[in-house]
Each structure stands twice: as C-alpha cells, then as structure tokens.
Symmetry: C2
Subunit: 377 residues, 2 copies
Amino acid sequence: MSLPNHFELLATDAGARTGRLTTPHGVVRTPAFMPVGTAGAMKGMHWRDLRDAGTDIALGNTYHLMLRPTAERIAALGGLQKFTGWNGPMLTDSGGFQVMSLSDLRKVGEHAVTFRSHIDGAKVELSPERSIEVQRLLGSDIAMQMDECVRLPAETADIERAMQLSLRWGERSRRAFEAAPAGTMLFGIVQGGDVPELRHLSARGTVATGFHGYAIGGLAVGEPQAVMLAMIEEVAPHLPADRPRYLMGVGTPDDLLESIRRGMDMFDCVLPTRNGRHGVAFTRHGQVNLRNARHADDPRPLDEASDWPSTRDTSRAYLHHLVKSGEALGAMLLSEINIAYYQRLMGDIRDAISKGALGEFYETTRADWERGDIPPR
Amino acid sequence: MSLPNHFELLATDAGARTGRLTTPHGVVRTPAFMPVGTAGAMKGMHWRDLRDAGTDIALGNTYHLMLRPTAERIAALGGLQKFTGWNGPMLTDSGGFQVMSLSDLRKVGEHAVTFRSHIDGAKVELSPERSIEVQRLLGSDIAMQMDECVRLPAETADIERAMQLSLRWGERSRRAFEAAPAGTMLFGIVQGGDVPELRHLSARGTVATGFHGYAIGGLAVGEPQAVMLAMIEEVAPHLPADRPRYLMGVGTPDDLLESIRRGMDMFDCVLPTRNGRHGVAFTRHGQVNLRNARHADDPRPLDEASDWPSTRDTSRAYLHHLVKSGEALGAMLLSEINIAYYQRLMGDIRDAISKGALGEFYETTRADWERGDIPPR
C-alpha cells in the first residue's frame, strides 16, 4: 500500500522541479537547503537568524541527540522543535552515517549496528527499528530509513553488500514506521556507490518498498562531482516524479545547482557553517577567503547587492580582522552570511524554475562564480 | 580652564544619580553599563543584539586594537564605530591596564611603558601622548587618561608611586587631548589603592587637572567588596557633582547596585559575557549555573517574567544541553541573556531614581537575589 503523498509539484523546467512539501510543523519550499543542527544547535547561529535567512527546514542528527541529551529526554520535553525553540520542520537522519564516522568499536550486523558512544564509551545498539523509534521520540517531521553508507572508492562487492543490507533495513524501517503520527514522513535511501547497476537495483528495490520520499545516499563521500552527477542521472529516472527527492550531504552551491537541474529537491550540508568557521564566505562572486591579506584594508562588503544585512553592510576589513583575531563573531557572521547565500540561491532557483527561466539563471550564476571575486582596490 | 560639560544630571535619590551624557555618536543614559568589546567585537554577540538588549555605549580596548588591526588602519576605515558597525557611543581605555596584565617584558618608566606585544612579540612603547593619539585614531567618544593600576593587596609605597605617576600622566594626557575633536571627552582616573589618604590626594589632584568626567580605577582588582565600596565613599565627595563618574572594571549586579547608591554613573565589566561562556546566567533569581544537572529535564525558562525573549522562552533543559555539549549557541544565548539582564537592571535603576524610589527597588531586588533560584521541579 502506498504511503500518503505530502508533496505538491508546482512547476518543472527541463529536469528541474519546484514544489511544496507539507509537514506537521509547516511547509517546505523546494528546492530546499537544510542547514545541519547537529546536536540540537546550529554552530554559531541563533535559530531566529536561521529563519530570517530564509530557512524552511533544518536537519538534526539522530546519533548525537540519542547519546546526549537522549531521545527520551527530548520527547519528555515536547520534541526537538520545542526543545530547540526552532518550531519549524525538522528532518532527522537515521544515525547510521555518524555511527560509521564518529563512534568507536562499531560492528555492523544483520540485526543492528553496535558501537561505543564517542561521549562516554557506553555500548549502544542501533537497529532500523530503534532508529525509527528514536526519530519518533525526537518528533521528527521527516525520518530517514537506516542504511549503510560506504565511503568511495570501494570494492564493488562491499558496495553491493551494503546496498542489499540497506534495502532490507529499508523494509524493516517502513514496517517500524507504520505506527508513526499522521503527517510525518519516512524517506527511503538509494545506495549503490558509483556502480550504475547497483544504483538501478537499489532504486527499484527502494521504490518497491514504498516511502513518502526518496533520498540518494552514499554520494559526496570522496568521489568527483562528475561521478556524483552521473549517479543522480542513473537514479532519478527510477524515482516516482510525484515524490520529493533528497540528495544527502551535498554540497557546494555548484553541486546544488547541478543536482537541481537533474531533478533533486532537497539537500543538507555542513559546508556553509563549517567554511564560515574557517573564514571562507560563499558569495555571488564565488568563494572568498577572508584570511587573505588583500581584505585587511578593504572597506567594501562581500556583496553590496545582497539583501542580507551582514553581507551588504559588514566590511571585508572587519571580517578579516575578526577571522585573524579568532573572534567568535567572525565565525558567527560568516556562518549566517553563508546560510543566507545558500537560502537566497535556493529562492532564486525556485523563482527561475517557476518562470521557466532556469537555463538563463544557470548561465548568469555560473558566469558570476567563474568571474570570481571583485578586484582588490 | 575647565572643559565643556556634556553631562546633564536629571535626578538624584539619596546618593544615587541619573542623567544623560551626550557623545558625538549618541546619548548615554546613566547609570550605564558598558559591555566590553575587547578586540572590536563582543564575544559571542552580534552588535545588533547588543543594541536590542538596551546597550547605549560599548567599550573598546586600546591595547588590543593598537596591536591588531592597528589604530592607523581603523582610522583609515573611518573609526571604530564604523569599522565594527556598532555606530553608537564608544569609550576606549588607555591601554595601560592591559599592558600590565597581558604583555611580556613590560617596563614602566616616567615617559612611557614599553612592552612586547602578546601577538607577535614586537617591541611597543605606550606613552600618555601616544595613548591619546591612538584613542583619537580609534574615533573614541570618551578617551581615558593613561594611568598605572596596582593589583591589591600591595605595599602603600607602591600604591603611592603609581598614584603619583598617574597624576603626572593625567596632566600629560589632558595636554595631549587639547586638539581632540569637539564633543569627544577625556576622563581622568583616580588611583590610590585601598589607602584612603592616597585616594583623597589622587581625587583632588585629578580634579585640579580637570577632565570631562572622572573614573575610579584600581578597584575590583582582588579586594573585598566592602573595601571597594569604602574607597568609593572616600572618593565621591571629592568629585564634582555635575560630571559623570565611572567605576572601572566593575562588576556583579550587586556591585553595580551598591556603587550606584554611592554616586557612580558608569561601569564596564567582562563578567556577563565571560560567565555566559562558562554556563552561568545572571537573573532576577541571582546567578544560575546551567551546568547543574537539576536543569537537565526542566522545561522552564530562566525567568518567565523577563521581557528578553531568550530569557523568557529558552528552556533550562536546552541551555543545560548546549552548555554540556560545548555548543557555541550556549555561550551565545547566555551572553545575551546576561547582557540583557544587566541592561534591564540599569534601566530599572534609572526609573527608580527618577521616581525617588531606589530604596524600595534596592530592597526588593536584593530580596529576589537572596531568595535564590526557583526550586527544582
């Protein structure tokens, strides 16, 4: 039996799509970029500023939250949206990816993955059923099936084993999700690494299980962009057109634009906040490294045409000084500047798709990026 | 010749005063608390939030700024207010205090203090004349004379030597200030440690030199609160009633309330932001340590009666989680919660003085603090 559909496709332009996804905590305009609030907080940003920057939906990491403060505690406090004060749509991952990257002594079995917490060393078991339970306790609007993600490059046999396990875990995740509150959603995840045949198999199997939406996982894990885009092209035709499509862990503004042209609707990435903490801004002129001494005496803002006040009004000289001095405000300003740029880009892309003008927008945006930063004074 | 007076005394209540100090960048309502933006930034707070929290004037540290990005660079960029985007009144210290506490190989001479920069080891000389020049380059609304501050307890001979040197440096500072832009101000600093006779001598000498306003320095440097308040009582009668009085580096909300009752008008302290970074909130219920496990499951805010949104709407459980997880947002929220509490306290005190009701306000405020935090659930 197919699951109810909360996605409305509003317009397409060549391969690109724009739509509305309705969640219990509000509507998400797609294409959508989801900033990552790992442990219940955005790094260096107030939730109020995240919303002002044009964010519809944020991502919370199940692995971090189940260990601290624990899912049960968050449930008792009314769920993640109320706990954090964000009060908007929230997608949670399954926890599987961070188990692989952060925990010690992990062991993947058919039933579950067992690991030791990176916080206190406690032994923890995470099964597909427990992952769904944790995500329900967190109050997730969109839960993800548990999967196994293989870092590339990898042997085909390893990729296939993880992909098949992910299909079985997807079925168990869907069964476990049957008692979930009305309006909440479960997304399946297509795996298969960089092997087209495995991607096809995974896509068909995942769609056969049936989910509210479909994610492509196992990309942006070390492969070139061309491989990533090729894999999207292999998978997209197998996904139902009326369901949302989420490309996990991606990416740069360029990655997003290229993926949207290939039919993807949702994205998450730590890049805007992480690069911000490292002194790098995403702008209309491409990436700008504020550590560079060329900015030390430059009174000009990053982009005088931006509608985000910090981008338009803060001098490069001040940002350079903050970054060089290690002042927290530097990371705070660059994180919000980057999130605002991402969200403005998403809004512009949605508008362009609605008007059937994405091709033109694509050309001018890429030309701006390739032209690079304004010349030094 | 006495300097022009930009201070207007509006009301007094017993020893306490409320007034308006007009600077080139705007009016400061007194009693005023000045948050400390050490190196051109508040730690963990956007300037916009500092203003929203009720801040009229901020403090910049000459020592930090002269070393990086340098006063000349800030001057070329239009001054500290424009550089930071704060655009409001700014007081700068002389740099002398931080030379003593932060630099290496410092040597105090009659002409100047020489030291090595804590940033790059460069040898730097700071004289009263250079300090005034640096503060003018920074675009300071209120500059401070250079002085020497002695940490307590200290030998009387050491306190006296530093006090006499500060008097001579005060005269040189005033001469150097003669060419300063109209409307900007220079405050003298009364030294003398915990020795009443030296405080009297210093106060009379400083007033004889003549400044726009008068500061009491060399307190909050290790002595008990009773000693600090006693020294204020020794000095205040020697200061002209029509000039603003600034107690440097103070303090807790209780220190501020007690000092205001003894006639002080202006204060600066890193305590609200520093304690915020360490997980401690200043509230109507006194200081609250959010690290304490009693808050882990507590959905209540720090103070449901506060008019500052983060204080009224953020749960103790969330703050506890952020602090325990080392999330930057914890320090950011507690810094703004603390600054907002300080500024609200200043506003309430100004209102109470205006109405002649400071005595009653003092009793109820102290009773709230002494009652302590609300009971655990």
